[in-house]
Subunit: 335 residues, 2 copies
């Protein structure tokens, strides 16, 4: 299984992404294709004391910046590292591409460059998020489709089920539908319809769940539209930071508390790490005939290597094939 | 300003709500009308060593439970304590009603029993939530209207502005619109349209804001539909508890950390209290010709008294009149 790695993206750029890709290759045995400006890559390989003949490089003259219009960039910058990496997936020269570049561009490149699986009318971005005392919970869509129909949510459930199964090693993951109440009658008209479709889908559907339950592992997968998904993700990040900021503020008051703060610092750090979903290896765009994986924009080499490692494992576990089969079965069931 | 208090609701019932109403009356000088089963009220007054002749009681033979269909309950249980309290507001015998009963019933009772203000096509439930290092942020709608049109969001902004101004003592509060990106083009078609309407509204509109910014006080008021509002509120509760549970888990590991945990316990408690939005006095249903205020279902006497006190202050500051004027001005501007 070969992975095309866009080494030009992310806040830290090639200086961090290239060592990250090397780590994934050497320590985790991932079969990495380095995609980006050839000279830049060669210079960084030299800096890291590596022989370039050892490494597969595919040159991409251009790159997409974070502030460009994603759709226009993917359409017009055909030589950008992200589009070139996605093309390698379309041409089956790679089975997945990993980038820490623009999420919007990745979402546009999926259907435009790689192509959709039969039955996946809208690819969706998924991510695992931490829960209390259990394995992570997979949520999707986290931003690819702000507005959804009930049918899209059903497709997300099928894709999320395959992904959670491959990522977490769970058979027949339980699926929840995010709503503003647990009763089947709760939510917008789209949610009410999606609840009915999911109930008859043959998936392990556990019904509507409320946002508070996500962090307590009430379902292995929670399905939502991309607007709600963005709210869930951004709110979790914001509130997580806010709580830690408040705890810091409070712990700077009074000598005894300050002394205690030093002692519990490792515990707080450990919780902060648990809350950091980038630990779980990036967010895949599901529903394509290959995997496109978004590593966090702020990824350092270790986080980037981790995203590549997880991607490699997902491929080994046959995620794309299984997702394709489930989606096809749904389409055939309708026909 | 008189406040009709439904003393039959909440997880703790009359045994806690009646002393709460007494506290609000005696300590905060609120003019409280006790609404509920007369015998129960009299028995509790006696238990608290109070002379019943001192207290204004309006008898309500029935009450609405949490698991009833809210709309049916409000329609058919005309003698329930919540409906009787709302009727007192409609008849101008009280200017506000406070309850810790069913939120759904409160939302139904607003337009059905009290009646809407001109220009408020959909009453909205609002609540203050804590932010880092500043005053709370008002969010609405938090659940009354899962599905909204752009016009409703504009009305929420007008109502939220008046409420934040009265609650927090801010002139011309800044208004943000929750979206999945700060650019005006981001969001669903309804959000994009609402952004345009808010930009031309004369309100102090600061544009779209992302969920993470809510807790950092980027706007005094953040407007959203009731589905998103429910997600924001429930997620905050859930994640807040989850983080504290994880911190506890980590702090029970290792002797040094355990010792530190004892020292920082007060600091953590203080943060937990700051995160508890019930401290801010309940959630008002805005857009009615009177105030209906929902105190948290788990309110004890102190929290309930606090909700009554805040309601009394909002009335004194002319919230309903100011909201009515702003909404009328919008309608007149359209004509």
């Amino acid at each position: 299984m070969r992975i095309a790695v866009d080494v030009m993206g992310g806040d830290m750029g090639p200086a961090e992404m290239i060592p990250g890709a090397l780590m994934a290759r050497d320590q985790y045995g991932a079969q990495v294709i380095f995609v980006g400006d050839e000279e830049t890559i060669k210079a960084h390989l030299k800096e890291n004391g590596r022989d370039e003949s050892d490494i597969e490089i595919v040159h991409a003259a251009d790159s997409i910046s974070m502030d460009e219009d994603p759709l226009a960039a993917v359409r017009h910058k055909r030589d950008s590292s992200m589009v070139v990496a996605a093309k390698l997936v379309r041409e089956k020269k790679a089975q997945a591409a990993v980038t820490s570049g623009s999420t919007g561009a990745l979402v546009a490149a999926g259907p435009l460059v790689v192509g959709r699986l039969k039955g996946a009318s809208r690819p969706a971005l998924a991510t695992p998020i931490p829960t209390v005392g259990g394995h992570p919970c997979v949520i999707l869509d986290i931003g690819a489709n702000p507005e959804c129909q009930a049918k899209n949510l059903l497709e997300f459930a099928i894709m999320g089920s395959a992904y959670a199964s491959a990522l977490l090693g769970i058979d027949n993951p339980s699926i929840g539908l995010l709503s503003n109440g647990t009763e089947a009658s709760k939510g917008t008209s789209v949610i009410v319809q999606a609840n009915q479709m999911l109930s008859g889908s043959g998936l392990n559907f556990v019904g509507n769940i409320e946002a508070r339950s996500i962090f307590y592992g009430e379902a292995d997968v929670v399905v939502m539209d991309g607007f709600a998904g963005n709210v869930v993700l951004k709110l979790s990040e914001g509130l997580g930071s806010a709580i830690f900021d408040m705890v810091k503020e409070e712990m700077s008051k009074g000598c005894m508390v300050k002394a205690g703060a030093l002692l519990v610092k490792p515990a707080l750090k450990s919780v902060k790490r648990r809350m950091d979903y980038s630990e779980y290896g990036g967010a895949p765009l599901l529903g394509l005939s290959g995997l496109l994986v978004k590593a966090h924009g702020s990824s350092n080499r270790k986080a980037f290597a981790n995203a590549i490692r997880v991607t490699s494992e997902l491929l080994d576990r046959g995620l794309v094939e299984k997702m394709s089969q489930s989606l096809s079965a749904m389409v055939d069931g309708e026909a």
